[in-house]
Symmetry: C2
Subunit: 204 residues, 2 copies
């Protein structure tokens, strides 16, 4: 059975969502961030040398990197959550898969560090703010004409990640002001489709 | 013909390397970072809304995200630079493809910002330093028993990126102290294999 090494407030929420969405049985091993440093516990390094989450074990193999894990799980358990390789949408699907980690995540990490530095990081704030605005405007524009990242087609590439946002945190004004980015999450919330699991859930 | 929108000191060097390595004809459109802010010029936003580099045009389509571009170019022009989909090495190849952007790039960006903040970012330095050490130790350990990221097999996933390093900059002590990480680059330098093109090269 698939085993997810899950760290609170980490990208592994996206993996849990995908497993729930596809009804794939799995078990969860929980790890908690250090409350002061917010770093992952060293125990995670026994599973993978970088000690980051998510890490997934399946069929005797260990997988790290969120993008790769989504790719792997879709290929193995949920081929209907990705367009066929010869489809027009295939490279667009791949784009969003890479975008989430390659482009959107770095400014989010930067914001985390800059926020923790407080006033000291004052000179870096305009840069961080402009980068986040750039990405949020881009997402809003991409989503304003269609419900999902691939238009009418729901997929694992970006939609799952977005669905989790409002359950994790109260939407911040920066998100609330972008209705297209927020909308599918609210739909999900109301219709109870693709409900993310409670953290640490055992397979049903 | 493939068109690469190339920004100096950006990840598009990896794309140029891949095109040179595979002998694929291409043309380059050059962009220069603002010398003061180090940001990309707004002209890049006319090619893709995020205005980041690399961006590649091929066959009437526009591709962004380094990981996706490598994936696309390999699939289209250089299938021998990736293991077959049913091979044991396939997911390992995918791992390095996602790792470069998903895990290695964020602390490098963080270092850039923290270095520019100078003394102000002093409290963040131990975190950034420990993250970079974690990744460099990991790379050194992964490469210490074999010449390439997939063992004996050269691939597009991580090896190309590594080859460029010593041509771009004089290796810093942090790299020089890790001989396995550096070694293939030196081999490349001496044997003139996989020579990266001069920036802005026209197709030969």
């Amino acid at each position: 059975m698939i085993r997810v090494h899950h760290l609170n407030n980490s990208r592994s929420q996206r993996v849990l969502w995908l497993l729930e969405e596809t009804g794939t049985p799995y078990e969860v091993v929980r790890y908690e961030r250090d409350k002061k440093t917010m770093l992952a516990p060293k125990a995670l390094r026994r599973v993978h040398p970088l000690g980051k989450s998510p890490i997934v074990e399946d069929d005797g193999k260990t997988f790290a990197e969120t993008g790769l894990i989504v790719d792997y799980l879709v290929e193995r358990f949920a081929t209907d959550l990705a367009p066929a390789r010869d489809s027009e949408l295939y490279w667009r699907y791949k784009y969003w898969l890479h975008y989430a980690e390659g482009s959107l995540m770095p400014p989010l990490l930067l914001k985390l560090v800059v926020d923790r530095l407080g006033l000291l990081a004052y000179p870096a704030r305009p840069f961080v703010k402009s980068q986040l605005k750039l990405h949020l405007d881009f997402l809003e524009s991409e989503l304003s004409d269609a419900p999902w990242f691939l238009g009418e087609r729901f997929s694992a590439a970006g939609d799952g990640q977005r669905l989790l946002e409002p359950r994790e945190t109260t939407p911040t004004p920066v998100i609330s002001n972008r209705p297209a980015t927020l909308a599918p999450a609210l739909v999900c919330e109301m219709s109870n489709v693709a409900t993310p699991p409670p953290m640490g859930a055992k397979p049903t």
